[in-house]
């Protein structure tokens, strides 16, 4: 008598466990449409991003962007997991919030600068990670010459893509954190549309074009 009930429960449990990953996103969407709960807009991270006016207008004489300097004491330096800007690559349809740090939380909410690299304008390597299925999926459209825009709470920057390379996640030649010149590296899991875990990473390299440089000792 008890056997059919146990069998029924086990069947339901297994079925629920199997279909949950596929249905969870639809359930969340349904919840969004039909729930009468107040929308929770609070987030555990600090958002210090207030867009600043674009000051890197081309110089009238040289038609080159003016090289500006900003004092480190004139703005709030981001702390770990702070949202302090946004990253835009129009050609790749990438529009992502930019965080300092690259924890799981950060990568679930945008793209993140590795805190062992540097922030834009610091004159060093900026290493930015993003998930391949979400914010950095558009990197599959990246090509040399495209412009990467980074807007922060202290200045607006532009970088030009110079190279794209696929290599393993342990290949230390893919980045140079010792570099003493401003350069940008974006990376994500490869292949771009894979849903599983992979050892491969696609690295997109870009050179500095414009934006205020930070005077560290002021």
């Amino acid at each position: 008598m008890i056997l059919p009930i146990v069998f029924c429960i086990v069947t339901y449990l297994i079925t629920a466990a199997v279909i949950f990953p596929a249905t969870s996103s639809y359930l969340a969407m349904a919840d969004l449409f039909f729930s009468d709960k107040e929308r929770d807009v609070t987030s555990p991270h600090t958002n210090i991003f207030v867009p600043v006016e674009d000051s890197s207008q081309p110089d009238t004489e040289s038609s080159q962007p003016k090289q500006e300097t900003i004092k480190a004491s004139d703005f709030t330096f981001p702390s770990y997991e702070d949202q302090f800007g946004e990253l835009i690559i129009e050609d790749c349809q990438i529009y992502a919030d930019l965080f300092f740090g690259d924890s799981w939380y950060v990568l679930g909410n945008g793209v993140g600068i590795y805190n062992g690299s540097a922030i834009p304008g610091y004159g060093k390597t900026i290493l930015i990670a993003g998930h391949n299925n979400t914010y950095f999926n558009g990197l599959k459209y990246a090509e040399k010459g495209q412009i990467v825009k980074i807007r922060t709470n202290y200045g607006n920057y532009q970088y030009e893509i110079t190279d794209i390379r696929v290599t393993t996640n342990v290949d230390r030649s893919a980045y140079d954190l010792n570099a003493e010149e401003e350069n940008l590296i974006l990376y994500t899991c490869y292949p771009y549309d894979t849903l599983g875990l992979t050892d491969l990473r696609a690295f997109v390299y870009a050179k500095y074009v414009s934006g205020p440089m930070i005077d560290k000792n002021s």
Binding site: L3, P4, F7, V10, T11, I14, T15, A17, V18, P21, A22, K71, A72, S73, D74, F75, T76, F77, P78, S79, Y80, E81, F100, G101, D102, S103, L107, Y114, N115, G116, S117, A118, I119, K124, L127, A129, G130, H131, N132, N133, F136, N169, V170, A174, Y175, L177, N178, Y187, T188, C189, T194, L195, G196, L197, T198, R201, D215, K216, N217, S218
Partner: protein
């Protein structure tokens, strides 16, 4: 008397406001004391005759944190002295790298690092299973994080500090000092959700349900035959 008290309290309040404003205004950037710490972090330690450095990504993390706070000269001096003591201790261990530490040495090294960061009210913890070092501030906010510490150490490039007894006729390039400990800055940027994995689990689940169903029907049939008999 009341007026005097009001003036005194107003003066005290404005002094506090000015002091706090000046602290927050000078918090960003690297001051001379903080530069002293960074310079010390960039020096080498000698382990079993090999020169060792801290990885650049660790120093960058320290620099990024120091950009958010103000360290005094006294604090910097204390930190530098403690780092120097730790470097001497590293030399005395006889180990070549972090990976060669005994459990006791590893615990002692972590305790020394904890003591160094506690100078400026930071707390260091070490998760042995994932080899993850985390430093948090008084508000429990992450200041430094490194995982798989010691997992990628490269002993081949260690630079000997003692000269070779028989110099080779052709000069060879001197390798740079290697990090005393290392981790991988490249993160997992794919999702944990794995379609082939889910399909396999689904397949096994359906197989189990079918097998149980066949067994159940078989058992019932046998029971019915027994009842008929």
């Amino acid at each position: 008397m009341k007026k005097a008290l009001k003036v005194l309290s107003a003066s005290l309040l404005s002094a506090v406001v000015i002091a706090s404003a000046s602290v927050s205004a000078s918090a960003a950037g690297i001051n001379a004391a903080e530069q002293k710490i960074l310079n010390e972090l960039k020096t080498t330690a000698v382990m079993n005759g090999m020169e060792k450095t801290l990885p650049t990504n660790y120093i960058n993390q320290a620099e990024n944190y120091l950009n958010t706070v103000d360290i005094t000269e006294a604090e910097a001096t204390e930190i530098v002295n403690k780092i120097e003591e730790t470097k001497q201790w590293l030399t005395s261990t006889g180990a070549t790298s972090y990976e060669d530490f005994t459990d006791a040495q590893e615990n002692a090294f972590i305790a020394k690092c904890q003591d160094i960061v506690s100078t400026i009210n930071l707390k260091l913890s070490y998760e042995k299973s994932s080899q993850t070092v985390t430093i948090v501030d008084a508000n429990n906010k992450t200041v430094f994080t490194a995982s798989n510490v010691g997992a990628n150490g490269n002993k081949d490039n260690d630079r000997k500090t003692t000269p070779s007894p028989t110099p080779t006729p052709t000069p060879t390039p001197t390798p740079t000092p290697t990090p005393v400990i290392e981790d991988n800055p490249i993160k997992v940027t794919g999702l944990d959700f794995n379609i082939p994995g889910v399909m396999s689990v689904a397949g096994v689940g359906i197989l189990l349900i079918s097998a149980a169903g066949v067994y159940l029907i078989g058992t019932k049939k046998k029971a019915a035959v027994r009842q008929d008999a």
